[in-house]
Structure formats: C-alpha cells, structure tokens
C-alpha cells in the first residue's frame, strides 16, 4: 500500500463566528497531486495553513509525512515546501541571495547553499536574473523564484496555494510543466486553484470545497462526468443565417442552441475534432462566421453539477 503523505481527519477551523473549515478530510498518497478546488473564501488557504502548521485546527487532526502538524510542527516545517498566493521573497535581495538565505536557514553550508541556488536558478530559467534584486523581476519570474525557494531543501511534500493566479497564459503553462516535473520525481503535491482546467491538467484527484465543506471528491474524470461539456459558440456575421446554421450543425450530429441576443449559435462538443466539424458544417452551407470560441467547463459548472446532485435539504 502506498504511503499517505498528507492527511486531514475531520479538520474544522472556526474564527470567532465564522466556520472556515467544517469537518474536512483528505488523504494524498505519495507521489500524487491533490487539486483543492474552490472559490475565494471556500477555505482552501485555511486548509493549507493548517497543513503547513501556520494555523491550529479547532478540532480534528492532520499529519504530513506521518508527523502530526500540531505536536511535531517544527519537523513538519523541515519536510515541506510552501508557495503561497503572494510571492514570499525578499524583494531587495537578488534571486541568488534569496535562495542562499533559505538554504543556509535549512542548515546547508555556504558552499552547498550557493551550489543549490545556482542549480535552482538554472532549472527555473532565472540564471540571467541571478544577481538582480527580486523587485526588478516580472510577475512570472517572481512566482518561479518563489517556487524555487520552496524547493531548496528538495522537500517530499509541496503545497502550492493558487500558484498561477495572476499569471499570463505562457507563464501559467511554464509553471504547470514545472509541477509535472516535480511529480515525475515522486514529490507529493497539494495544489489549490479556482480553475477546473488547472486541476484537471495537474491533479490525480480533486476535492471541491465550498464554504468550508467538502462538496465533491474524486478523479478529474469522475468530476467532469457530472459537469457540462465544452461548448463551441459561433457569433454569426449575418444574424439571419441562424436557421441555416442550426440546421447544418444538427445534420452534422451536434445539438446546437440559438442565443438570439448575441446573434450566436452554441453547441456542446466532446472531442476537440468537433471544432473542425462545426467549421466545416457552417462553411458547406455558406454561413459566414463572425467569432468562434471553444469554452471549457468552469468551477461554476462543477458547483452547479454538485448542487443539482445534492439531496434537497
């Protein structure tokens, strides 16, 4: 049986009259990624803070690498890496000095520390910015430095709290690749996100939080099965083409609907090749396309699906 590296058992956290976490349980086996999905205020960061020893649970218990987060806090801190929502680096120091500082605090010698710092700067494509103060870094670079800082001791367990929030698409993909690389090395990752797409791409299992409660848990495929499909929507150049367009798409085996207000037709699709089908079907009947968009299901769709499945209370 695979070792459980992150575990929460019935964790609740109450701040005054606000229940931030309500009986939350999770279990993450070694070398896997758990995606913690939820909106702002769902309790994601609170759970991360409990698991990383920054907050004590009001009730319940949690452990990381088999060590209780309350009674063995310092040992837990020695085994984890945490990248929060806001870059936790010293802006006045260079990237190199930031990483050396952390390595030294972790117990590395000066030589080990500078070796490890340069290694990480190379991995994270920051070698050119090695000696520049971190305040001159772009948002993406800062996020990479922050992640590098969490990885200095090559920890077994990494917590990433909304690692891609506020990043441009290219930086986001770069960060995903880094996380995938870590997992390939056997690191256990807990990742929080507001994006279903991100959880789908990175996580082996997903736990959905809403108002401090676990409302759904399972693999990405299991969750997505209950969620709406991807949608292709076409804004028509000529609104009067709507009937022709709906006909053509229906003939192609799709199930289009008409959005009169936006002069568009939309259809759920299953495979990415269906996008080509839509374009071809419209082209064949001479319908001119104004705009074309493929939309992924969002966290809201998951919430909707979960709520519709929940028994009426």
């Amino acid at each position: 049986m695979t070792e459980v590296m992150i575990e929460a058992r019935g964790v609740s956290k109450v701040f005054g009259s606000v229940t931030a976490l309500d009986d939350v349980s999770i279990s993450v086996p070694r070398g896997t990624v758990l995606g913690l999905l939820g909106h702002n205020g769902a309790g994601k960061t609170t759970l991360v803070n409990v698991l990383t020893t920054l907050l004590k649970p009001t009730s319940g218990s949690a452990s990381v690498a088999g060590l209780d987060v309350v009674s063995h806090g310092d040992q837990v801190r020695g085994r984890i890496g945490l990248t929060g929502q806001f870059a936790s680096v010293d802006e006045n120091m260079s990237g190199f000095d930031n990483l050396v500082l952390i390595a030294r605090l972790l117990g590395a010698t000066k030589k080990q520390a500078s070796g490890r710092a340069d290694e990480l700067l190379a991995t994270f494509d920051l070698t050119e910015a090695r000696d520049r103060p971190a305040k001159t870094y772009s948002g993406g670079m800062r996020r990479r430095l922050d992640l590098a800082a969490s990885l200095v001791g090559r920890p077994d367990v990494i917590f990433l709290d909304e690692p891609t929030t506020g990043l441009d698409p290219l930086s986001r993909i770069g960060l995903w690749e880094i996380v995938e690389g870590l997992v390939g090395d056997g690191t256990t990752v807990l990742l929080t996100t507001q994006y279903l797409e991100e959880a789908d791409r990175l996580a082996d299992t997903i736990t959905v939080l809403s108002k401090g409660k676990v409302v759904a848990a399972g693999t990405a495929a299991e969750l997505k099965a209950g969620v709406g499909k991807r949608t292709v929507s076409v804004v028509l150049a000529e609104p009067e083409d709507a009937a022709t367009a709906l006909n053509a798409l229906a003939k192609a085996g799709l199930h289009p609907v008409h959005d009169k207000a936006r002069h568009s037709v939309a259809t759920p699709v299953e495979k990415s090749t269906d996008l080509a089908t839509v374009v071809r079907a419209l082209d064949e009947v001479g319908v001119e396309v104004g705009e074309l968009a493929l939309t992924e299901p969002t966290l809201d769709d998951v919430y909707l699906a979960v709520n519709s499945e929940a028994p009426a209370a």
């Binding site: 695979t2 070694r30 070398g31 990383t52 020893t53 920054l54 907050l55 004590k56 309350v70 806090g73 310092d74 040992q75 801190r77 020695g78 085994r79 984890i80 945490l82 929060g84 806001f86 870059a87 936790s88 680096v89 010293d90 802006e91 006045n92 120091m93 000095d97 500082l101 952390i102 390595a103 030294r104 605090l105 972790l106 117990g107 590395a108 490890r116 800082a149 200095v152 001791g153 090559r154 920890p155 077994d156 090395d185 056997g186 690191t187």
Partner: protein, 283 residues
C-alpha cells in the same frame, strides 16, 4: 494480458525522492544569517543608507540653529555652547527614532511575505526577532557614529568628557535604543499595520522627546511638564548621556546610569516577551 501488465505498472512503487536532508540550522546560525541579511539590505541600498544617515544631521542642524538662543539662558552657560548640551540628548532621541524604524521594518516584512516564508520553515521566530533587533542596533550605531563625527567637524562639538566620555554616552544611547527597539517590535506585532504603527509611534515618541530635558533645561518648563520630565525614562538616559559626554551631571550619576540601563533592560524584556508571544506561529 496487456491490461494486467499496465495495472501492475500503475500501482508500482513510486520512486522515493532524494530529499537533501536539510532539516533546519542551529539557533545561532539562524540569528547570524538573518542579521547579516538585514544589514546587507541596509548597506546595499545607497538611498536608504544616505537618508537614514542624513536624518539625524538635519535634526541636529535644525535644533542647534532654531534653539541656538537657548545658550543665552543663565543656566546654559556651564555647557559652553548649546551643541554640547544638545548632542548627547540627540544621541538618545536618534536612537529612539531608529528603534521606531525597527518596528516599521518588521511590519514591512510581515506584509511583503518575507516573514510568511520563515513561518513555513524550520526557523525559530524568536531568531527572526532577535536578528532584527541586532541588525537594527548595528545600524543605529553607524547612524550615531556618523552623527558624532559630523557634530565634531561641523558644529564644533567639544565636550569636556573627551573621546572616552563620548564613547560611554554612545554606549548608553545604544542600550536605551536597543531596549526601545523591543518596545517598538512589540507594538508592531500588536498593531500589525504600518499606518497604525506610525500613529502609535508618534504618540509614544513626541511626548517622550519633548517632555524631557532633551532640548531645554527642565527647570525652565511649567510645573506639570517638570513632573512628566522627571518620571520620563528618556530623561534618565539623556541625563546619563549628557553627564558622561560633558562631565556635568544634572542628577546623581550612579542613579541616572543605573536607572537608564535598568529601565532599558525591563523594556527589552517585557517588549521581547510581548513581541514573541504576538509573533507566535499558530493560533
């Protein structure tokens, strides 16, 4: 067949990663590394360095020129020039201003995420506070030495106590500043916001500064201010600093020295306890 093989591969042993085994450094290393970090930040920022060294000089210039007429007062003749009276007390008030910026510095780091990083690491939070206190005391020493040199060269500061007396006055000011630093660190961990910190600091510093013998002999003040000045802990530090530098004691030397050092010690202890308690990792 194929399915069975794949299933076995999928449930196979996940490779164990080669953790570097760094589980945290000793307390002394933490304090040393963190102190160096704060000092480097200060020394590597030329603008910050320039202005923090300039500030006490401007204060000195303003006070010595604006209040220069005080030297006409009968009770001031014994000090020769006003600068001899003013400079030892400015050592103490500058140490206090510097101590206040220690609290502001901690707040800046609490808000920009640096402290958040340390909290998630196997680092003693007391080491973080101690390193700040130490590095800010070194910074304070640099400020005061620069001020002393400038005062001797530009303002004609020639106290009777000589080098030794001035060095002793510097030392007392540093101890007082170090103690007050813990007070402002405690305030910083309590208010948690830079704006509130400024307001609290203003309310703490100005009454202490002006309700003392820093700029005017206490005997020239209205009765109720005299009462305040005589219980103001800063007054003892100023009496001690001025006595050591000028050899003119306004109160019993042993008493003022012991009082100023003891008060600083108590403030450091209480401030340190409160700061450490407020700074705790979990709640």
């Amino acid at each position: 067949m194929t399915t069975t093989v794949q299933a076995t591969a999928a449930t196979g042993e996940v490779p164990r990663r080669n953790d570097l085994g760094w589980r945290g450094s000793s307390f002394a290393t933490q304090v040393w590394v963190l102190t160096q970090r704060s000092l480097n930040t200060f020394l590597r920022d030329p603008r910050m360095l320039f202005f923090s060294l300039l500030q006490p000089l401007v204060m000195l210039l303003l006070f010595s020129q604006v209040f220069g007429g005080i030297s006409q007062l009968g009770s001031m003749h014994q000090w020769g020039s006003y600068i001899n009276y003013l400079l030892p007390s400015t050592l103490v008030t500058t140490a206090m201003t510097s101590a206040m910026s220690s609290g502001v510095g901690l707040l800046t780091e609490m808000s920009n995420g640096v402290i958040a990083r340390f909290r998630s690491m196997p680092v003693s939070l007391f080491a973080v506070l101690l390193a700040r206190s130490l590095s800010d005391t070194v910074r304070m020493a640099i400020q005061l030495v620069v001020m002393l040199i400038a005062a001797a060269l530009l303002f004609g500061f020639t106290p009777a106590g000589g080098m030794l007396g001035v060095a002793a006055a510097l030392l007392v000011s540093l101890v007082v500043g170090w103690g007050l630093g813990w007070l402002f660190l405690a305030i910083a961990t309590w208010v948690k916001k830079a704006e509130t910190m400024q307001a609290v600091a203003f309310l703490t510093m100005f009454p202490l500064m002006f309700g003392s013998s820093a700029y005017m002999p206490v005997s020239t003040m209205p009765g109720w201010v005299q009462v305040i000045a005589n219980v103001n802990p800063l007054s003892y530090a100023i009496f001690a600093s001025r006595g050591l530098a000028t050899t003119i004691w306004e109160a019993n030397p042993a008493y003022t020295l012991i009082a100023s050092l003891a008060i600083s010690g108590v403030i450091a202890l209480v401030g340190g306890l409160i700061a450490t308690r407020n700074f705790r990792r979990t709640n």
